[in-house]
Amino acid sequence: MDVVEIKNLSIRSAEGQLLVHDSSFSLESGKTHCLLGESGSGKTLTSKAILGMLPADLHMSGDILFRGQNLNLLSKKSWRQIRGKHIGTIFQHPEQALHPSIPIGRQFSDLMCSHLPISRYEAEKQAEKMLSRVLLKDTAQVMKSYSHELSGGMNQRVMIAMALLPKPEVVIADEPTSALDVTTQAEIISLLRHLIWDLKMSMLFITHDLLLSSYLADTIGVMRSGEIIEQGSTERILGRPEHEYTKQLCRYRSQRILSKGGNSPNAPSSTAL
């Protein structure tokens, strides 16, 4: 069953320039779909459209179905109730995505109390449990901290915990690791993969990194200048690319692997959990 289905999504700028052109894809329940493309290809805009958070001066057409329900027809209020609760989001720059002057714990309880009829105490207890699931130590201390007191990797773990805590059906991860250093990147990715699998969530993973997508994705859609030029299962896309651009990407990847001396291409160095 498809959790999210995008049909003929187009986004135009105020000047009439086409930013995303007639793209359709679907995200199966419990699976990970990867939007792969260079920066400026419209990946992030697509994810914003799913959240209903496109800038007001952009014009959108097409349908976004969430569990069969057309999100475009929702009121602002019901759309808000879906964000966070049913669709969680993990951002690229975790330290910028957490409010700088509100303690982490408070941000967790604000989130939970916005969507569920629970007390702040209860919310914070759940949040602490979730923090230990993202492998943070000393969770009580983290709850009291502000985001600038944590390292980038810790912030991203907090971000992941925050996205997963309300048990959303779908998680959108927008380049969650590109701002982190390589070792932390590997840790975060394997953690994310493990948790998503464990909690049986679907994920829309947005990246420019072919390696990451081959590791995480069940299906891949390749985006270029606002258009999905090719999509299909990961094996198909990587094994038998049809579009010239995808072929180039794959060729570039094999070159990189060769130059690294033929290390295992499918997983970042440390996958053990």
């Binding site: 959240l51 958070m53 007001a56 001066d57 808000r80 109730q81 879906i82 964000r83 966070g84 609760k85 989001t89 951002f91 720059h93 910028q96 995505a97 957490l98 409010h99 700088p100 002057s101 509100i102 941000q107 604000d110 989130l111 109390c113 916005s114 969507h115 943070l136 130590k137 000393d138 901290s145 502000y146 600038h148 007191e149 944590l150 390292s151 810790m154 925050m162």
Partner: protein, 315 residues
């Protein structure tokens, strides 16, 4: 934290010293010496012996620095002298008139803040919408409305054409309606514009976008996320607006014959009543400087990035 407060405190003292030096210098530069001025005021002729006597009594024959130090010392003892006009101590004269002015300023201040913060935020969130464009164009016009003209127009409308409100004095609550309306209208225009632009600027911040993506309830999101992040610019706006409100109170008190401190000070300027002018400016300056100082302290409390005692720590 402590160090920044001490720094601010030193700055505060420095400001006081420089301002008092400025006041003192101008007082000495004033045309006509105070002794003959006072004798003239109380009706006597400027006879040489009397003038010399007074000059000696006030220490006017000493050097500039000495005089300044003596003067500062006197002020610290609370001796601001007596009014030339009434002969009463300046301190008492000012204290008797502070209450209506205080009510006027705090009333219009509250109304301005209470109305313009939500309006400004709402406009900023709906940037480019029709109400936003309309209100924004009105504020461009509003910035150019002279307060003194607006106050007179209000006075004419509600005092002459449609006489439902008292326009002279301060004896009842109703007397405050027009002055407070006039001041709040003019100040709100500025506040709304500034808060609108802060809202536009801060909603683009990533953590506000991210908070929105978490679907927070409006009553949590707006006060504790959006407004919280704008705390420092809004605080600056509020803190630096105090002199503006004070200037506005001089104009409105004069127009509505409001027996308050600001009007009294203006009258002291007409009559060249130096002790009163001196006492008033020092009081107002003290008030404004301390207000700014408090705002500075609030900055540090507002921004946790200043919490230096907690170090960045790793797993």
């Amino acid at each position: 934290m402590l160090r920044s407060i001490i720094n601010r405190l030193l700055m505060l003292v420095l400001m006081f010293v420089l301002f008092s030096l400025f006041v003192f210098t101008l007082m000495r530069l004033a045309p006509g010496d105070p002794a003959s001025m006072m004798l003239l005021e109380i009706g006597g002729g400027p006879e040489q012996s009397l003038v010399a006597n007074l000059q000696e009594q006030w220490g006017l024959d000493q050097s500039f620095i000495q005089q300044y130090l003596v003067w500062v010392f006197q002020i610290f003892q609370g001796e601001l002298g007596n009014s030339f006009m009434s002969g009463e101590p300046v301190v008492n004269e000012i204290m008797n008139r502070l209450e209506p002015t205080f009510r006027l300023i705090s009333g219009s201040f509250l109304i301005t803040v209470v109305f313009s913060i939500p309006i400004g935020i709402w406009l900023g969130l709906n940037e480019g919408s029709i109400p936003d464009r309309v209100v924004y164009s009105v504020t461009i016009l509003g910035l150019s409305v002279p307060l003194y003209w607006l106050a007179i127009l209000l006075m004419y409308t509600f005092g002459v054409l449609w006489p439902i409100l008292p326009v002279v004095g301060s004896s009842s609550g109703l007397h405050y309606v027009l002055p407070i309306t006039a001041i709040s209208l003019v100040q709100s225009v500025y506040f709304i514009r500034m808060i609108r632009s802060y809202t536009i600027q801060y909603s683009k911040f990533f953590y506000i976008e991210a908070a929105r993506a978490r679907g927070l309830r409006p009553y949590i999101f707006y006060p504790s996320y959006l407004l919280r992040s704008m705390y420092i610019p809004v605080l600056t706006l509020v803190a630096t607006s105090l002199p503006g409100f004070f200037g506005a109170s001089i104009i409105t008190e004069t127009i509505y014959s409001f027996p308050g401190f600001s009007k009294y000070m203006l009258e002291a300027i007409y009559r060249r009543d130096f002790p009163v002018i001196q006492g008033s400016v020092l009081l107002v300056a003290a008030f404004i400087f301390v207000f700014n100082f408090v705002a500075d302290i609030l900055y540090y409390l507002a921004d946790p990035r200043i919490h230096l005692d907690k170090q960045r720590w790793e797993i």
